[in-house]
């Protein structure tokens, strides 16, 4: 059954690659969504307890273990697979409803293929499968972004992260002499160079997740389309980074330095995300920064719960996507205006959809805060409480700017009150999802109401007024400290070193010196020969005499 499910998904994904006319594209993309939703329904109803069901494809037998492509989802791994599946289906629905591109089948195909790849990462039991699928997810992310300006940094950062992962696993494989991921636990006992292993693992994981200070490649994708940004940010490389963290956290913490570094990075990521979310005028960059902050918090949650993926983290992940999507809807309803300064305030434009969106945002925010409090309560940790409070404030500030403030440069746009059935369907679905969230989490209604009220009050208040000045500055990217840091600390010295090496190694310290010296000796010999040969009359006689003397000397040397 599992095999059929994966085969079905693969087939749907491959069909999506076909380039059809726009009319057929609409039809097929709806069919893709329906098929995927149906498969999701079947998958959710499967019983994974007891006998292992799945498939295993034997790729190669080696002396250090069989290399297989495994997919044996268990209850534990399904805690990761199912939310990702759900998000993917939701994303397909969103694509069909908010048709941001003319052809959406390719994007749908990428979402489905990404789902398969992430599932295989989750179920990976050996390095080969893990690395291969992580790299494939990079490629899917690359194809998803589809914007050459953004891709360069994306590719370079991911390439570096992949090389660190490669190096890490090569070292582990060389030491442990096994490809089995479970045996990585043993590295702590027998492994050497633990600090180096830790640093390698840290680089690979942090870059993939997009933590501070490696997030700039993700913020740079803001020039791509919004729908693709969400997919790439939520389901793409950062999620594969989180999965890597879950799989390889043992290697990360073999070094005693790593716990502290991890904490610092987590906090810095969160703070950077919050700052970017509040500070940026660009809507897309705001969303990316929000994701950064949410991922920072997720990393902290995983730290405090011992890197265990449980139902809380499941809902947290879904929540991340829903947050992204809500801002996406704001973007859509604001006639795809990217710059917040140019957006009209919702109150003035009287957009019904946006107001209903606020209601949904409030529900989602309340649920999220409650969820995080539960986690904090369970694990007795105050840091995430602080974090969610800051997040609450940040979101309220941003929504204040969008919903209330009549900012300069904005024009009142009559958005129209035409009823859009597809949007209405989506709103209902969204409400259904939120309802299911309430159903599964079973929060205290009083807490939810309290949080909602606080949230709305914060939006309505003048909390966001001090931040008006920030939006006056247009070119925020120029003052990006991290970008400049990378440029001046890494790029410039590397270029300098490269040129100096070329000068010294290729021009000076190469064989040219040796060959020049040999040539000089040779030229000396030739000049001597020419000089000796030049004396026309005496040379042959001299040579003759020399020859005879040589021969006669040999007579004596020969012992005659």
């Amino acid at each position: 059954m599992i095999t059929n499910i994966m085969a079905g998904l693969l087939a749907i994904g491959l069909i999506g690659i076909l380039k059809l006319r726009v009319r057929y594209d609409r039809m097929f993309s709806v069919m893709m969504f329906l098929a995927t939703a149906y498969i999701f329904y079947i998958y959710m109803n499967l019983d994974f307890s007891g006998i292992e069901s799945g498939f295993s494809f034997l790729w190669e037998k080696t002396k250090i273990g069989d290399i297989t492509i495994d997919f044996y989802p268990s209850d534990l791994s399904n805690l990761m697979i199912k939310p990702i599946f759900f998000i993917s289906v939701y994303a397909l629905l969103s694509n069909n409803i908010f048709r941001y591109e003319e052809r959406i089948m390719p994007l749908n195909a990428l979402i489905i293929l990404n789902l398969i790849v992430l599932s295989l990462i989750i179920c990976a039991k050996n390095y080969v499968q893990l690395m291969t699928m992580i790299f494939v997810s990079d490629i899917i992310g690359y194809l998803t972004i589809k914007n050459a300006d953004s891709l360069r940094k994306y590719v370079i950062y991911n390439f570096f992260a992949d090389m660190c992962l490669f190096m890490l696993l090569a070292m582990a494989c060389g030491k442990i002499q096994s490809l089995d991921i479970t045996r990585l636990l043993g590295y702590e006992q027998i492994g050497r160079h633990k600090d180096f292993v830790g640093i390698c693992a840290a680089l690979a994981i942090f870059i993939k997740i997009g933590c501070f200070p490696f997030y700039s490649y993700l913020t740079d994708i803001k020039t791509a389309r919004f729908s693709r940004i969400i997919i790439a940010n939520v389901l793409g490389t950062p999620l594969s980074g989180i999965l890597m963290l879950l799989k390889l956290h043992n290697l990360l913490f073999v070094s005693n330095l790593m716990p502290l570094i991890y904490q610092i990075v987590t906090v810095a990521t969160f703070i950077t995300g919050i700052i970017g979310f509040v500070h940026s005028r660009n809507m897309l960059k705001k969303v990316i920064s929000l994701d950064l902050a949410l991922r920072g918090m997720l990393m902290q949650i995983l730290w405090i719960n011992g890197f265990e993926w449980n139902r809380y983290t499941v809902f947290y992940l879904i929540g991340i996507y829903l947050f992204n999507h809500l801002f996406y809807e704001i973007f859509i309803y604001q006639k795809r205006e990217v710059d917040i300064v140019n957006m009209p305030s919702v109150i003035e434009s009287n957009e019904r959809a946006l107001k209903f969106l606020l209601f949904r945002e409030t529900l989602l925010m309340s649920l999220s805060v409650w969820l995080v409090w539960q986690i904090a309560w369970q694990y007795d940790d105050i840091s995430i409480v602080l974090g969610i409070t800051i997040l609450l404030a940040a979101v309220s500030i941003v929504l204040h700017h969008i919903y209330k403030t009549p900012l300069k440069n904005s024009q009142v746009i009559v958005c129209g009150k035409e009823k859009n059935i597809r949007q209405s369907i989506f709103e209902c679905t969204n409400m259904l999802v939120l309802g299911m969230g309430f159903f599964y989490l079973q929060p205290e209604i009083s807490s939810i109401i309290a949080i909602a009220i606080i949230f709305l009050v914060m939006i309505a208040s003048s909390l966001g007024k001090p931040f008006y000045q920030i939006y006056a500055k247009k070119d925020e990217d120029k003052n990006d400290l991290v970008k400049n840091l990378f440029f001046y600390i890494i790029a410039v010295p590397l270029t300098y070193l490269s040129r100096r090496c070329w000068l010294f190694i290729d021009l000076i310290l190469s064989e040219k010196i040796i060959t020049a010296a040999i040539s000089a000796v040779g030229y000396g010999g030739e000049r001597l020969f020419l000089q000796l040969n030049g004396q026309k009359y005496r040379t042959p006689i001299r040579a003759l005499v020399l020859g005879i003397i040589l021969c006669l000397l040999c007579y004596h040397q020969g012992g005659q």
């Binding site: 020419l530 026309k536 006689i541 040579a543 003759l544 020859g547 005879i548 021969c551 005659q560």
Partner: protein, 471 residues
């Protein structure tokens, strides 16, 4: 009487050829190919007769055997090709070439007799004649630049005088016949005599002089640079074959008592020749001089092998020489097609861009140079194998290091030539290639390519013929 006639049939055929050419000259035939055809005809007759009567002898004076036949065959084939090629040269220059052909036929007689001789008197006579013929070549076909002529003739005279004095001294000292066997006994008895040793050296030096071994190379170096192509070709390719045959024979049959001193002397001269040849080759702009210096290097190697005083080393030296000569002959044959406005090209720089318009000649020259360097699967590689095998067997690693160090230096000179041919812009308009010359060039190429495959087990057959000298 009949026996005497049979003994000299090949030589008589050559004499007939000389007479034929004289008659043609008397009747004022102008076409060079007539003379060349006549010379070739009589050469073939002589060669066939040599093969037929390969074991003739005159006791005490001449002994023809497989060894002499080997050199005769190789030399005569080379001379046959030489006649072919030189006729095109003479035709282009509008010279009959009668004197050249006649002198060449006389040289062949001298070669045959000298190789077969077992008597020092015969060697003396034949070599002196050869020496004079050599001077005759230069005299008849001299260049316009006469500044070095007196100097060169003086040196040649001195060399000839040394040869005569050495011979005269030995003739005076040896009681009885001057056959090689008794001479060897004489040398054994007088091993400690410096005078006798000097006389022996005096016999060898003229050979080395004609071969251009350093430090006796100056005159040959100057002359070859200024000679016409046919004379340079003869001096560089044909003459050395026979001279080396004679040196090997004399070293084996006469000079063995002085093995120790000779080993040292010959190896020293060999190394010196190699070094000078490799360095000098890089200073040349003239093609013929470049080949001459290249020969100095390679002959130095042959001399080193000879100095090991071992029949297998001598054979290795012969194989090395033979393979080198094949490559050199091919390189020289290309020279007959290198003309611009009727003038033969003598300088390396004048070959600029040859590959662009004459790819055939350029490629054959390239192949011949590769063979000379010793790259497999060309003929030169066989020579290299023989050389290295011998030196390693004898434990002479130092020689190997010196040989290969200077081979690299010499190769630089070849590469300069290749670079000129392939990389530089054309500065002259080359004349159309002569089809006959092209045919010879192709034949030479086939020989270079096929030698490496040891067709008809040629190397083994040559060895059997060569080793007769050890019997």
């Amino acid at each position: 009487m009949l026996q005497s006639i049979i003994n000299f049939l090949p030589e008589l055929a050559l004499c007939a050829g000389i007479c034929h050419l004289l008659i043609l000259a008397a009747f004022s035939f102008d076409a060079p190919r007539v003379y060349a055809s006549g010379a070739r005809f009589w050469l073939i007759i002589s060669l066939l007769l040599s093969i037929l009567f390969y074991d003739r002898q005159i006791v005490g004076y001449l002994q023809y055997n497989a060894y002499t036949l080997l050199f005769t065959i190789i030399g005569d084939i080379g001379i046959y090709a030489l006649f072919f090629l030189t006729s095109t040269w003479f035709t282009a220059k509008n010279i009959t070439g009668c004197a050249y052909n006649i002198l060449l036929l006389i040289s062949i007689i001298c070669f045959n007799v000298m190789l077969a001789s077992v008597n020092l008197m015969i060697v003396f006579g034949a070599f002196s004649t050869l020496f004079i013929i050599n001077e005759g070549f230069y005299y008849i076909y001299h260049s316009e630049d006469e500044t070095d002529a007196t100097n060169n003739y003086s040196t040649s005279l001195i060399i000839l005088a040394i040869f005569i004095i050495s011979f005269a001294y030995l003739w005076y000292r040896v009681e009885g016949t001057l056959e090689f066997a008794p001479l060897q006994e004489f040398f054994i008895e007088n091993k400690t005599s410096l005078a006798v040793y000097s006389a022996m050296i005096g016999l060898i030096i003229p050979f080395l002089y004609l071969l251009g071994i350093a430090p006796f190379h100056n005159v040959l170096e100057t002359r070859i640079g200024k000679s016409i192509l046919p004379v340079a070709h003869y001096e560089a390719v044909i003459l050395p074959i026979f001279l080396w045959g004679e040196i090997i024979k004399m070293a084996h049959l006469m000079f063995l008592p002085y093995a120790a001193s000779l080993t040292l002397a010959l190896s020293t001269l060999g190394i010196f020749s190699m070094i000078v040849g490799a360095i000098a080759a890089n200073t040349d702009n003239k093609i013929q001089q470049l080949y001459m210096h290249s020969s100095m290097y390679h002959f130095g190697i042959v001399l080193i092998l000879l100095s090991l005083a071992d029949i297998s080393a001598e054979f290795a030296g012969f194989i090395y020489l033979f393979m080198y000569m094949t490559g050199l002959a091919a390189a020289y044959s290309v020279g007959y097609n290198l003309k611009s406005h009727g003038e033969y090209l003598l300088k390396v720089s004048s070959l600029s861009g040859l590959a662009q318009t004459r790819p055939c000649s350029a490629n054959i020259l390239l192949l011949s140079l590769f063979s000379i360097i010793g790259l497999p699967p060309l003929a030169g590689f066989i020579g290299q194998i023989s050389l290295v095998n011998q030196l390693i067997n004898q434990g002479k690693y130092i020689y190997l290091i010196v040989i290969y160090t200077f081979l690299v230096w010499l190769t630089k000179a070849y590469l300069q030539m290749i670079r000129t041919i392939y990389f530089q812009q054309k500065i002259k308009i080359f004349d159309t290639e002569n089809k006959k010359v092209l045919m010879i060039m192709f034949l030479m190429t086939i020989i270079i390519l096929s030698q490496a495959f040891n067709p008809l087990e040629m190397v083994e057959k040559i060895k059997d013929m060569f080793y007769v000298i050890a019997l």
